[in-house]
């Protein structure tokens, strides 16, 4: 149809037309489901699983800790500390809908104690993770405006970092940079923040600074996938193909281990152990690769290999609670009492808070596994 609109007498900018200025500011389509204020339950019954959850959290056993928290909250749904810890762990969980659960926990706390600083920041961080940025920003700014004595440094750093990333997304690079610098003043070794500064540098078009910040991030966490990915792309664009090729090899192994669409959540423990081994070859100085390889071998019930790998890593000078514990547990599962107890001696090389308490806890687990070993051997 030949309709010349230009000459048809139409208004150029009708009031209802969808121009950039007239569109509704619907931000995210993010609707909260209704929640009721939790009712108090049996706090006494909730305390034991809560204490156990805290212990498990310190050992890095997040899934087990969450199970204990579920038990604590089943006993007492209005247990604020349990709700907050569950929210924190869900945010770190990485499972598909975990941030939604974290948000729900944080909102429940705020139904009980609306002005509790820990609840405000936890809800803000959950909304940040869920990209509900307007409400996240409001909550996090409110949290940072509270009297300093009400804010713990770790939460302040997390809030500043989230607000910095939101600012970078909006294109407000000066605010973003200021916030990231504030985080580094509190937590200079936080790799994510160095990566955040790389994002800011990228937004400014400063590729030299971007590379510097990416390298700083990777020095602190060599397995930080976004930083690895960005560094690879930066090297490709710069035509530095040899360096890019090395980065690509690391990415090809790291991605399936960090990617929830790949091997990450499958039962293929042996496959994951193999990948961690490959990564250890590419990143020989990296402790996490060693820890994870031992852990995955143990999960694959290849306790002999787990013990051998753990021993080799400890001999090579690596040491961490997780590495020591997994290695000692592997020996214990094989009934090697002497080796298990000798491995535990490496805990002295790990600088941990509450070391005696933790060591006692791990010792108990070693002894329990040693007792079970003969039965396991029969099976």
């Amino acid at each position: 149809m030949l309709v010349s609109l230009a000459g048809a007498g139409c208004a150029r900018e009708p009031a209802a037309a969808p121009s950039s200025g007239s569109a509704s500011e619907v931000v995210a389509g993010f609707e909260d489901e209704p929640l009721e204020r939790p009712l108090a339950g049996d706090r006494t019954r909730a305390l034991e699983p809560f204490a156990r959850a805290r212990e498990l959290e310190r050992m890095g056993a997040i899934v087990a800790a969450l199970k204990q928290l579920d038990a604590a909250l089943a006993a007492d749904p209005a247990f604020v500390d349990a709700l907050l810890l569950a929210a924190k762990l869900r945010l770190a969980d990485g499972a598909e809908y975990a941030p939604m659960t974290a948000l729900r926990h944080a909102r429940r706390v705020r139904l009980l104690e609306p002005d509790l600083p820990a609840a405000i920041v936890t809800e803000g961080l959950a909304r940040f993770v869920l990209d509900d940025s307007v409400r996240a920003r409001g909550l996090l700014e409110r949290f940072l405006s509270l009297p300093p004595e009400n804010i713990n440094p770790s939460s302040r750093a997390a809030a500043e970092e989230a607000l910095g990333l939101l600012a970078a997304r909006r294109g407000d690079v000066d605010e973003a940079a200021q916030r990231m610098e504030r985080v580094l003043a509190i937590r200079p070794e936080r790799a994510q923040t160095h990566y955040g500064l790389a994002v800011v540098a990228d937004a400014r078009g400063d590729l030299v600074a971007k590379e510097r910040h990416l390298e700083a991030a990777l020095q602190r966490d060599a397995l930080l996938l976004p930083a690895r990915h960005e560094r690879f792309l930066l090297l490709m664009r710069a035509g530095r193909h040899e360096e890019a090729a090395r980065e690509k090899r690391i990415l090809e192994v790291l991605r399936p281990l960090r990617d929830d669409g790949g091997i990450m959540f499958s039962d293929d423990y042996a496959g994951r152990a193999r990948l961690w081994g490959d990564l250890a070859q590419l990143l020989p100085e990296n402790l996490t690769c060693r820890e994870m390889r031992v852990r995955e071998l143990a999960m694959a019930r290849d306790h002999g290999a787990a013990a051998d790998e753990g021993d080799a890593a400890l001999r090579a000078g690596f040491a961490s609670i997780q590495l020591v514990a997994e290695t000692a547990f592997a020996h214990a599962r094989l009934g090697r009492a002497e080796a298990a107890r000798a491995t535990m001696a490496h805990l002295a090389r790990c600088n941990v808070a509450n070391g005696q308490q933790l060591e006692a806890s791990l010792q108990r687990e070693v002894e329990r596994l040693l007792q079970l070993a003969p039965e396991r051997a029969k099976q």
């Binding site: 309709v3 609109l5 230009a6 048809a8 950039s20 389509g29 939604m100 792309l233 490709m236 664009r237």
Partner: protein, 563 residues
Amino acid sequence: MSARVLRPALAFALACATPAGCTERTPEPTGWFVDVTARSGLSFRHENGAGGEKQMPEIFGGGVAVLDYDGDGDLDLFFAQGAPFPGCSPQDRDFRDRLFRNDGDRFTDVTDAVGASDADFTFSAAAGDHDGDGDPDLLLCNFGGVRLLRNDVAERGRFTDVTAESGLRSRGWCQCAAYADFDRDGDLDLYVGHYVVYDAKQSEWCGDRQRGDAYRTYCGPDVFSGEPDELYRNDGNGRFTDVSGEIGVSAPLGKCLGLLIIDADDDGDTDLFVSNDSTPNLLWRNDSLPGGPIRLTEVSMDAGCSVGKNGVARASMGVDAADTNGDGDQEIFVTTFTMEPNTLFRSDGDGFYTDWSLESGLGEPSRLWVGFGSRFLDIDRDGDEDLFVVNGHVTDTIELTSPGIWYRQPSQIFLNRGDGRFTLAGPEAGAYLAERHLGRALASWDSDDDGDLDLVIANNGEPAVMLENRTPACSGWIGFDLRGAPPNGAAIGARVTLRAGGRQQVREVRGTCSYAAWCDLRLLFGVGTAAEVEWAEVRWPRGGRTRLEHLSLGRYVEVRESP
């Protein structure tokens, strides 16, 4: 070139068609997009064939194709239909694919009359002219393999199943297909995208078994291995040769849900973007020499469009491309799963892409939705491309297990602010956008030749919907109806670049679109307040160019490629 008058297909009330202007529009219903399904005579309902065993194919229909099958100058509609799985009661349900003829003011079901159907579970259809005889054929992408229905309507009044003699040997889960002349020999080659290796006789139990059958749901893609894609070279005379192995397209084992024909590196030939579910996307760069063997090189990781900014593969589904920021390069947009941002890969013009999802404003509002069909269209004809996305979850227990996330979900419109940043439209977009559906395929077409794009949506297990674009945008427009030299008469792979009102724009003719869809192949441009198109250039798939100057607005311009 010659100007050609296209007759109106449907006698809908047209925006701005009266001298009195936009304010004289029919008052009810209102909104930019109005559901006109009922009065169009379109009566297609998608059947997903669910029989209680939660068979994964059930969640991926339906599909839609816009084509002029009878050559009468208006566009007809084909809908891909499911098939019953064991346990499904087929009584009172119509499991035929359906073809609706456009009779100007109504659609008429001509499926049986012309034989445009098969009994298989069909996900999508591609309406390329595989034999170069000037009419669109129908390639059905089925669970079990492809089926090629040759358009013999002009000669015999029917489509003819020519799968066996065509050389196509696809088996397994054929999700989608795209036509393009990869070797630039003039005919259309065929890429068939496969999803996962799936055996319906051995369906897995997924969900929360401890909580019982009410919590059983469809398995995710991680449970299954990816199925190799295929590439068929067109040998002319309607025959294809499988060159998947020698080209290497069967190697990456992605889980394909969407395909995009695009000249990604602006070198004049057709590249291919493959949108994969939870595995890295692929970008096949075309390194073929004209008339030589097909050579494709997979460059997605190096180019920066394989995974998201966080380095993780997303559940990519529907896909489209447009120059969203006016720099002459086309961005690639991909819809994704809940908890992931819909992804915009911004083209940086040098063969590299940057994940610009959150900065563009397209990522954040998609977090709770599962996006499928997506189409760029210049809703307000202001010279930049806006975006329509249809959503719908695939996990039918999602409201039980994850409160706050809906199973049926609303569609969304994103308005381009002119610089590649978008704003989510509100209720003024129309009542349909407030409704919740299981959105899947989305096709765009100018059903009434009024210079704006209307939409057809094939929802899963629901009636199809036809939305008429009544956006009161009174800016100028121009359309291009490209007629390539045979055998690629539809000029798939051609690009039009134009300049109007100080702004340069680009569009390409794509041999598939959106998710499970085949769209109107004409190219439509809004030009804002410009009085004319200063110049336009057509770059044909085989490299020739046609330049046009001082074009008047408000019409479709037919441009023919010199043989």
